[in-house]
């Protein structure tokens, strides 16, 4: 077992839990969106840590491809969430 692998893996778990807590507890919609992004980053860190095989061996490219896909899906979900939040805000202003 590699030291770096478990260090980054554990940090991924912590970041994911921090993000989940923020997403559940924040009152502000925008900060909930930020928190969900932090949570995603924690998951990405777990996956990249799993892919790491030490300084000599090449890493496993499959989790890297998954994380790349994840980053792009996360940004499109963020954009849609922000557009929904903006619309919600506009509706509240009208009331």
């Amino acid at each position: 077992m590699l030291t770096a692998q478990w260090m980054y893996g554990l940090a991924g778990c912590v970041i994911m839990a921090l993000g989940l807590r923020g997403a559940l507890l924040h009152a502000s919609l925008l900060q909930r969106i930020v928190a969900i992004n932090v949570m995603g980053a924690g998951v990405f860190m777990l996956l990249v840590a799993v892919a790491y095989r030490g300084p000599v061996l090449p890493p496993d490219p499959l989790p890297h491809a998954l994380v790349l896909t994840g980053i792009v899906v996360a940004v499109s979900a963020t954009a849609l969430a922000l557009a929904l939040a903006r619309r919600l805000h506009a509706e509240q202003e009208d009331d």
Binding site: M1, L2, T3, A4, Q5, W6, M7, Y8, L10, A11, C13, V14, I15, M16, A17, L18, G19, L20, R21, L25, A27, S28, L29, L30, V34, A35, N37, V38, A41, G42, F44, V48, A49, V50, A51, Y52, R53, P55, P58, P61, L62, H64, A65, V67, L68, T69, I71, V72, V73, V75, S76, T78, A79, L80, L82, A83, A85, R86, R87, D95
Partner: protein, 341 residues
């Protein structure tokens, strides 16, 4: 780097990453939260580089920190007061402070338990012998994939299905954004310093995206990083107050938006007609087909991300100019949306 200093570097890096994530979520100031999140993304990109994932590092810096940051900062900027899920939020918080404290503790406890369980499962997985069946299958078939960068081979060949559906997700998201309304109002024209910076920056960004697209076949890079950089060129133009930001209009815009999914499907179905499996490229053609699909995907990704930054259906430049003049004539005190950059 010597073996002694590497764990120290890891510890410092992880300390700052977890610290930034914590700080970004601990504050109730939205602007501070977003800026700390951008810093978090940038330091995260360093971590991906450290874990030998340069493709992910590039995508994180360009998309995770860059474009997400621009999206979130734009949203903070347009909302003078915090967005709350319900308009009665304040009274709810005041009415149930006791309940609120208990709830916070319960949620914190559950999240800690989740992190603990995950960590336990992870350590269990790490202590067993790693499965190297998939990495070996990938490196064994790399020669037939048409590219030599294993991440591009996985994305565009071995698991091309995933990438096709990912492009469909992007298209769906932007259609959802279109359905929610018009684009955000533009920005005021930039001052001379920013304007001359834009003149230099935009061509460099376009050139970089072309380079990343081409180099993705054999080195870190590819359609996603290239598309994000190309979108960044449009974002910079938009921030500089330009009405023309490189997006085509009307029907052409729809073609560009759907080009990635469309060409991907066309290649897959043509191969099906030729008696090959769906998206099972013939090895001799794989390299060219991947470049073709990636070029279309890059244009679609760039258009999608730029439309996401606009936050709605774009107006035609003539219409935008008209509303712009209308906005400046009817500039009331609350109209903070047109800002100098």
């Amino acid at each position: 780097m010597s073996p002694v200093s590497l764990p120290l570097f890891d510890a410092l890096l992880l300390f700052s990453i977890v610290g930034l994530a914590w700080a970004s979520l601990a504050t109730t100031d939205e602007r501070r939260s977003v800026i700390l999140f951008i810093a978090f993304g940038l330091v995260l990109a360093v971590a991906w580089g450290r874990l030998l994932a340069p493709d992910v590092a590039l995508a994180e810096a360009a998309i995770g920190a860059g474009l997400s940051g621009a999206l979130l900062l734009g949203a903070v900027h347009r909302q003078p007061r915090p967005l709350s899920p319900g308009s009665t939020n304040d009274s709810r918080n005041q009415g149930a402070t006791g309940m609120g404290v208990v709830l916070r503790w319960v949620v914190t406890l559950l999240c800690t338990a989740l992190a603990g369980t995950l960590a336990w499962a992870l350590l269990h997985a790490f202590s067993s012998v790693p499965h190297d069946m998939l990495p070996r299958a990938i490196s064994g078939n790399l020669a037939a994939s048409g590219v030599s960068n294993p991440v591009t081979a996985v994305l565009l060949n071995f698991r091309a299905y995933d990438t096709l559906l990912e492009l469909a997700v992007l298209l769906t998201a932007v259609l959802g954004i279109f359905a929610l309304g018009q684009a955000n109002p533009g920005y005021q024209p930039a001052g001379p310093v920013f304007d001359s910076l834009v003149r230099w920056l935009v061509p460099v960004l376009i050139l970089t995206s072309g380079y990343l697209l081409w180099v993705g076949a054999h080195a870190p890079g590819g359609a996603f990083q290239a598309g994000a950089i190309l979108a960044a060129a449009g974002v910079v133009l938009r921030l500089a107050g330009r009405t023309r930001i490189g997006l085509p209009e009307g029907f052409m815009l729809r073609i560009v938006m759907a080009a990635g999914v469309g060409l991907f499907l066309l290649v897959g179905l043509t191969l099906l007609l030729l008696g090959r499996p769906f998206l099972g490229y013939p090895p001799a053609w794989a390299g060219s087909l991947i470049l073709l699909i990636e070029t279309a995907a890059m244009l679609s990704i760039a258009a999608t991300l730029l439309l996401a930054f606009l936050g709605g259906r774009p107006e035609s430049p003539a219409h935008a100019a008209r509303t712009e003049s209308a906005n400046t004539t009817a500039s009331n005190s609350g109209n903070e949306e047109q800002t100098r950059c």
